[in-house]
Symmetry: C2
Subunit: 328 residues, 2 copies
């Protein structure tokens, strides 16, 4: 069905080398006559030759594929992010081998092994916890690695991310500017660095402004079962609250559910979320938030990774993308 270079060569009575050179636009440098070049080109077009990219990759060592590893391709952050990445890479003639780890290090292991076997030319990774060894392994294999969204402080990699502390600070100032004098923070009981940074910035803000800090840490593991009740009871114990700052969008949604009365009316103070959500623009009251700009994030990741692939691995750098404050 699909013809090989060998067959084409035989049918044209020339050598495989000739055909290969012509196809790869090296006819000139290899002094193939214009005449023969045309003949090959025409024939190749006529039979609709498609190179076997496995063989090609084996010979050249280039797979034209990069790996994208996220926690869950189905979620509202990684899905659209992946789309941007794909678009950007398509323009550079690269394609994406993606995988979701679902937070399971064993999955991550399998995925990375598979990608290394497939000889991806670089990997874009949003690490979940306990992926230090995995990252080291990638680097040991001399495969360029760019980490985004989160990182492991223990392992030195290129790292593209937003400034969590600064963004959190902006959020606090905004709440203050719209009249909140006693707003609390609802976060998650987890030591993900980005969550810690968001909390720290809130604490610093309190210190500076003299506002009393009130923090609720929800359990990461049994959030769905315990979260709603926890928020409800905490809020009712802190009746002087006049605003809430959630450190991520799913917490904010959970908060919404918690604070709605049976009748359907809502609480009567502003909510603010870190990370946007389709919901926030539709609900009433609308919810302001810090928005991570997906496109710049994706652009930077791709640019840095391609540079590494092109010029060889360089010493790790950080790239900080600034966030938007969406007022609603």
């Amino acid at each position: 069905m699909a013809k090989s270079i060998k067959e084409i060569a035989q049918e044209l009575n020339v050598s495989k080398s000739t055909v290969s050179l012509v196809i790869n636009h090296k006819a000139q440098q290899a002094r193939i006559s214009k005449d023969l070049e045309r003949r090959v080109l025409d024939y190749v077009a006529k039979v609709g030759y498609k190179p076997n990219s496995l063989a090609k990759s084996l010979a050249t060592g280039r797979s034209n594929t990069i790996g994208l590893i996220v926690e869950n391709i189905g979620d509202s952050f990684f899905g659209p992010f992946a789309l941007y990445v794909e678009e950007l890479l398509r323009k550079k003639n690269y394609h994406v081998l993606y995988s979701s780890t679902l937070g399971d290090p064993q999955n991550a292991q399998d995925i990375i092994d598979f990608m290394l076997e497939k000889k991806v030319e670089g990997i874009l990774l949003a690490p979940t916890v306990n992926l230090d060894e995995h990252q080291r392994k990638i680097l040991e294999n001399k495969v360029p690695l760019v980490v985004f969204d989160r990182n492991s402080p223990e392992v030195a990699t290129h790292y593209v991310h937003i400034d969590n502390g600064d963004s959190s600070r902006k959020a606090c100032s905004y709440l203050q500017s719209i009249g909140c004098e006693n707003f609390g923070l609802i976060t998650i009981d987890s030591d993900q660095p980005q969550m810690l940074a968001r909390k720290e910035a809130y604490l610093k803000f309190c210190e500076e402004t003299g506002m009393k800090a009130r923090i609720l840490q929800l359990p990461y593991r049994r959030l769905r079962q315990k979260g709603i009740a926890a928020v409800r009871s905490w809020v009712s114990k802190n009746m002087d609250l006049d605003g809430l700052f959630f450190t991520t969008n799913y917490l904010c949604i959970l908060g919404l559910k918690s604070l709605r009365t049976e009748g359907g009316e809502h609480f009567n103070f502003p909510l603010f979320s870190f990370d946007d959500h389709e919901l926030f623009d539709i609900l009433n009251p609308k919810i302001s938030c810090i928005q991570q700009p997906l496109e710049p994030l994706a652009k930077t990741c791709v640019k840095v990774l391609l540079k590494e692939i092109d010029r060889g691995i360089t010493s790790p750098k950080e790239y900080v993308i600034s966030t938007n404050l969406i007022k609603r």
Copy 2:
């Protein structure tokens, strides 16, 4: 860095064949002594040998990769769907090469060419318009193809989908059962077969029950700009409406925006959506819907595709997945 079979063979003073056979668990059938087998196995484990899957694929003709082509991996249907597919395939030791066409046939062309070059063993495709030729090309290349969600009536392929007509009918009956005697349909001005089927079923329902049919067709191309106003004016011209049936979830969301008054109160009749959405469970009033069961859908797609890969291409069949009616 990464050792090859050749190097391992040299270091052990045996032939490449021996190493290869042992690695592939063919030691017994090739009468390699238990002793040597152990020696090879141990050494291979010790140096952490990882096969080069490009070479492997070239030799065996199997890439252990399947292609998944959707319109937009970032959306709330395809994203989670892709996750299921990935999970299911992981168990069978397959991986996914995915791509989003964004509805552009040229993109689709590039993607398919790339996948064929990569020697994917099968393709899972949710076709957008004008992809008939593309599908034929895949089949000509003897690559198993399973089409889902939508299909092109012009080209015969395995086709996994829900029963749009029947589901739409269920929706109508449900609205009737909760007291709606004059509900309208809001759909999109496009000839996608699934949309047509949903509309037809509504019309048939009207005919059978004697209900007056009222249909608003929104413009596919300039939906965002024109949609909200169009819904608003149409509803106000049809004051006797007592329910709305949206043929897809983004239309329903658009409807929500349209029908909300400035004060934040809602219209006072039931809304029903085809396709579920995270929102519908959270909003007040909650919105009932027809839900496409992603997991069974993904399972069937994967099962059918793997069977084709295993046993060779068979004559096209249809697989209908039944939907759920979610009452809220």
